[in-house]
């Protein structure tokens, strides 16, 4: 270090001071009365679930940003361990909250009512407040995120440059939880965009050969759609009448508070008129939907996903497929559908067609893929299409099923990507058919692959089946015999999964046929960490396949309440 000054403030000290100052400023700005909300109850969301992962990850990233290579290496093991331990804390809290829901009865699950709500003044002048809370829509997603982060860290324990990699995963988790718990449009958008930054770095630094292209495409694609969505949100903001009180701006007199906006819209919609009128409702509906459809992704806007997935490192893919795609479905149910039900009724067929096209396109393209990870990515597109079908069905059961699909896919798809990742890690190739007889070399990997593939194609008693069946049941009364199309596509899904499995796991005779990329060496089996991570995912796939009602209870309550609270007709 070429330092000729008196005090060598370069590097860590500087950063620590800066980081601490910023975090203290943040805390002081957000939480004047730290740790308790208006009613004096403990705020379990703001700090423990959202602030803690982001801030600790930031501090660890600061520690890990060393110019010195050997020091960086030295740090990677303790940082990894710390990240893992820190990621368990939100999991413990959210699990405890889940049992609290099971045992205690004080969770009000009627429409637009939230549990553990806390609201703090933030940017008073334009009506932005730090308002967080959970309901039956967001809680399963929050639990899923807190659950996936430690599992992902465990599965990708050996990733290179762990000192910066694992904290990024933790930060990603915090930002994702922020999306699900925020009850303020501004806050929602802040977290929505914040998730892009760790993922951009995960792809850029740990990605495959084309990571430069993939990371930029990922960022720009979703950013473009989000700004259109933001314009819709701001336009909406100025169409809600002025008010005063908590959450209303002192300068503009309007509010970004989601709860206030939703209840105003619901009152208008359930009354005689239509909230904002049909024409404006349709425009705003599609402006918001655009942001969410790109994130989901639905077919015309899906092209960023395969690129991002193929290039992303395993951990990034697991969180991307597991939770980040669900942000799209979550946002759709939270905003456009809830605000503009009449527009949805108007465009019901269009939403259904987009879903159907995603489903069909996703699976047909899967048939032609030679890259294992690309195939799994396209299968995600088709599963997201199923969620759109659930939303388009406009029935409580359909919404219930869409929620469960989000949840089930959030457990199954990380497993698929973990399998792909181990494949890449140990076989240095992801070409289907470049090797045969994996069952001989890597029996564990073969088992997990088979299990994951079966779960994803919808084998009964596994979580994916429940969701698909429910959606089909909800679909039937609305669209009748059109059900044959998704039914047929699910058969195609089975075909490509089974075919790819047959080509990789089985064939190859007694000796098997390791890929050329192994250069003649015998491929090893998966490591203990990968094994544990995938085992946990498999266990939960079975648990939610056999006892879906653990999660379905909450989701069902929410969908019924949502349906009564939003739609005038009470069903089509």
């Amino acid at each position: 270090m070429s330092s000729n000054s008196v005090i060598d403030l370069k590097g860590k000290e500087f950063l620590l001071i800066g980081g601490l100052t910023v975090s203290v400023a943040l805390l002081a700005a957000f939480f004047p009365d730290l740790g308790s909300n208006g009613e004096g109850a403990v705020d379990w969301i703001s700090i423990p679930l959202v602030g803690f992962p982001i801030i600790t990850a930031g501090i660890m990233l600061a520690f890990a940003s060393q110019e010195n290579r050997s020091r960086r290496k030295m740090l990677s093991s303790p940082v990894r361990l710390a990240t893992f331990v820190f990621s368990l804390i939100p999991l413990a809290i959210s699990t405890a909250l889940f049992f609290d829901w099971l045992i205690a009865v004080n969770w009000d699950l009627s429409y637009n009512e939230y549990a553990l709500e806390s609201q703090y003044a933030w940017i008073d002048s334009i009506g932005v407040s730090w308002h967080v809370g959970m309901d039956g829509l967001s809680f399963p997603m929050v639990w899923l995120t807190t659950f996936l982060v430690p599992v992902t860290i465990l599965t990708t324990w050996d990733e290179k440059d762990g000192a910066t990699y694992h904290p990024l995963l933790l930060m990603m988790g915090g930002a994702l939880i922020g999306v699900f718990v925020s009850l303020d449009l501004f806050l929602f958008y802040v977290f929505w965009e914040l998730t892009l930054i760790p993922m951009f770095f995960l792809i850029l630094k740990w990605g495959g050969k084309d990571r430069r292209y993939a990371s930029q495409k990922f960022f720009i694609y979703t950013f473009c759609a989000s700004v259109i969505m933001l314009l819709g949100l701001i336009t909406l903001y100025f169409m809600i009448p002025e008010g005063s009180g908590e959450g209303y701006g002192t300068i503009t007199g309007r509010t970004f508070d989601m709860k206030a906006i939703l209840s105003y819209a619901a009152a208008e919609n359930l009354g005689d008129g239509v909230f904002l009128g049909m024409g404006m409702q349709q425009v705003l509906f599609w402006m918001l939907m655009l942001g969410f459809l790109v994130k989901l992704p639905a077919v015309p806007f899906h092209t960023w996903l395969p690129d991002a997935h193929v290039q992303a490192p395993t951990g990034g893919s697991m969180l991307l497929a597991g939770v980040m795609l669900k942000m799209g479905a979550y946002g759709m149910l939270r905003l456009p559908v809830a605000l503009f039900p009449d527009a949805l009724i108007e465009f019901q067929d269009w939403v259904m067609i987009i879903g159907l096209v995603s489903l069909v396109w996703g699976s047909v393209v899967c048939l032609g893929q030679t890259n294992l990870k690309r195939m799994v990515a396209y299968s995600s597109v088709s599963h997201m299409g199923v969620i759109l079908l659930g939303i388009a069905s406009m029935q409580p059961l359909g919404y219930d099923a869409a929620l469960f699909m989000m949840f089930a896919h959030g457990i199954i798809s990380p497993m698929l990507f973990a399998v792909c990742g181990s494949f890449k890690h140990h076989y240095h190739s992801m070409e289907i058919g470049s090797m045969r007889g994996m069952a001989k070399f890597s029996p564990y990997l073969a088992v997990y692959m088979m299990f994951g593939w079966m779960a994803s194609l919808g084998l009964p008693l596994l979580a994916g089946f429940v969701a698909e069946l429910m959606i089909m049941i909800a679909y039937w009364p609305v669209y009748g015999w059109w059900i044959l199309l998704p039914g047929f596509v699910l058969a195609v899904t089975a075909a490509y999964y089974l075919w790819s499995m047959q080509r990789t796991i089985f064939e190859g005779g007694d000796e098997g046929q390791p890929p050329e990329s192994m250069l003649g060496e015998t491929p090893p089996d998966i490591s203990l960490h990968e094994n544990i991570g995938m085992f946990i995912l498999a266990v939960f796939t079975v648990i939610f396949g056999i006892f879906p009602f653990i999660a379905l209870g909450m989701m069902g309550d929410w969908s019924t309440a949502f349906f009564e609270g939003v739609f005038k007709l009470g069903g089509i």
Partner: protein
């Protein structure tokens, strides 16, 4: 009304007085030496102090810089304290009918922008201009370099004084004098590295185009005087509704002058060359403070004077709308193709000028009467513009300072100079990335907040209060300024391409040959970069107080 040069005058203008005193100090102190003066016809030697061999203390090469920074900081502190200790009240300065200066929240806010930008740039320059410790040396180059320390800070302080004058001026002629004072100093600052080809070229280009633009603006002012017989803002505003074609022509000419300062298309051609040739802190001042100065001109002329109230006087609303869209699109598209990071930042600053002009269009449309919007909304839009100008100091200047740090080890005129920065100096690379994200408008940074406010302001005017007047709305019911918001967002989506490219280059590509070592040290420039980063994050997450301040400043224009 306070008479000029009365005791009260010096009291209310304390920050500016401090600047003037500092300016004199930078002139005088480095020249103090042991010279004596012999009284004629005697042998009595009277010590005269100016000139001769410099004292050890006054000859120190870093002294002008320290005086300059201390002056700017002191002036800034006086401003801030005056603003927040509760004793602030609006004052006007002038004689008889003639109002020269008006001290209100608006002027004070702009002065804070100017002084903080110039202060940060001066702080950063402390390490950048080579200066040697005072030695009795005969080496010419060292002597020149030490001499140039004083030059740089004299120019910086002159820029600050001129800009403060612009902020306070209530008479277009006073405003013009301040503008020229600041401009002349910036022309010299741009050409400060006159030995290099780029520096000389930039200086000449900037000077010629700048003086042509000023000349056209001055001609416009003379036409305005012909029409109204006065250049007082009050008189112009009062007489505007009865004015004829001559006033519109004059307005157009004046716009050319200010359009050059904000680097609006099609007057922006000199900006990329000037920014690329100037050293980075100076380029940062051009992109922040100088731009804010142009925006003051636009606000004073367009919004205070020429706010349309009849069909005929609203011509400029359309013109400005078209210009704003052209400016932002041109800036972004040109930035996409530029391989020089400084040119890229220059074009991005052109785009930002377009965003602010779109907001000013919304103010014009608000009063025009085709929309019914609450009276307060014009203030909301102007507050958004002011907020944008304030936070621009944090991240735009910060980005230029990072390039300045790279210049210390030799040149930052190629994108590849940044490559490998993520490995060479992760913290500085992280800062640069934060600045880029802020420029692109990614939450939760200050750049997002400002873009958000600007769009919210435009949309507020576009939507107006149509929801209360009728229930069934169509998209066509929104005023056309709403589409400016869409254009702004599409443009900011385009801009993400080139901002991200910087991040990719820093974190992905290997460092250039010969640039593998950590960056040069430079305490003061690093401190300023850190300050800018903290401000970018802090104003992004809790900018509430600043929004209130900007809103008060907008209210003090008394538009409603």
């Amino acid at each position: 009304m306070i008479e000029p040069f009365s005791p009260e005058f010096w009291k209310v203008l304390a920050p500016e007085t401090v600047l003037l005193l500092g300016l004199i100090a930078v002139f005088v102190i480095p020249n103090l030496g042991n010279t004596t003066f012999r009284i004629p016809l005697t042998k009595i030697q009277v010590p005269w102090f100016l000139g001769g061999r410099r004292f050890r203390l006054t000859g120190a090469a870093h002294l002008p810089g320290l005086i300059g920074c201390a002056t700017l900081l002191g002036s800034l502190l006086l401003l801030v304290i005056g603003q927040f200790d509760g004793s602030f009240k609006v004052e006007t300065i002038g004689t008889g009918e003639l109002v020269l200066f008006r001290i209100d929240e608006f002027a004070r806010l702009f002065e804070m922008i100017f002084l903080s930008a110039v202060f940060l740039a001066s702080m950063a320059s402390l390490d950048r201009v080579p200066a040697t410790i005072y030695e009795e040396t005969d080496e010419l180059e060292e002597m020149y370099n030490n001499r140039r320390q004083a030059d740089l800070y004299i120019l910086m302080l002159t820029v600050a004084v001129g800009m403060c004058m612009v902020a306070l001026a209530q008479d277009l002629f006073v405003l013009f004098v301040g503008l020229e004072l600041a401009s002349l100093a910036t022309y010299v600052l741009v050409a400060f590295h006159k030995e290099t080809k780029a520096g000389a070229e930039a200086g000449v280009k900037y000077f010629i185009t700048g003086s042509v633009a000023s000349g056209i603006g001055l001609y416009g002012l003379s036409l305005l005087y012909l029409e109204f017989g006065s250049l007082q803002l009050n008189d112009l505003a009062a007489g505007w509704s009865e004015s004829g074609v001559l006033a519109i022509i004059a307005l157009g000419l004046v716009l050319v002058g200010f359009g050059f300062k904000v680097s609006a298309a099609p007057f922006h051609f000199a900006a990329p060359d000037a920014y690329a040739g100037a050293n980075s802190p100076v380029a940062g001042v051009l992109a922040t403070a100088s731009k804010a100065m142009g925006i003051i001109g636009l606000i004073r002329v367009l919004v205070v004077v020429a706010l349309p109230n009849t069909e005929g006087s609203a011509v400029w609303v359309y013109t400005l709308a078209a210009l704003s869209v052209i400016t932002m699109t041109w800036g972004n598209i040109a930035a996409l193709g530029s391989k020089n990071p400084k040119r890229m930042l220059a074009y991005s600053s052109v785009a930002h000028a377009g965003y602010m002009m779109a907001a000013l269009t919304a103010v014009g449309a608000w009063r025009w009467g085709h929309i019914s919007a609450p009276a307060n909304y014009a203030n909301v839009v102007i507050a958004a513009v002011l907020f944008h100008l304030v936070v621009l100091v944090a991240f735009k200047l910060g980005a230029f300072l990072v390039l300045g740090l790279l210049e210390m080890e030799g040149g930052a005129s190629r994108l590849s100079a940044l490559s490998g920065l993520g490995r060479r100096d992760p913290l500085i690379a992280a800062c640069m990335f934060i600045f880029m994200l802020a420029l692109a408008g990614v939450p939760p940074l200050a750049g997002f907040m400002s873009k958000f406010l600007v769009v919210a302001g435009i949309v507020s005017t576009g939507v107006g209060d149509i929801t209360t007047s009728r229930g069934d709305l169509l998209i066509g019911d929104l005023h056309w300024v709403w589409w400016l918001a869409l254009a702004l967002f599409i443009n900011s989506a385009i801009s993400v391409f080139y901002y991200l490219r910087i991040g990719v280059v820093m974190f992905l590509e290997p460092p250039e040959e010969g640039r593998r070592k950590p960056l040069p040290y430079g305490v003061s420039i690093r401190m300023t970069i850190w300050f800018c980063v903290c401000a970018t994050i802090f104003l992004g997450v809790s900018g509430d107080f600043l929004i209130d301040m900007c809103h008060k400043a907008a209210e003090s224009l008394n538009l409603v």
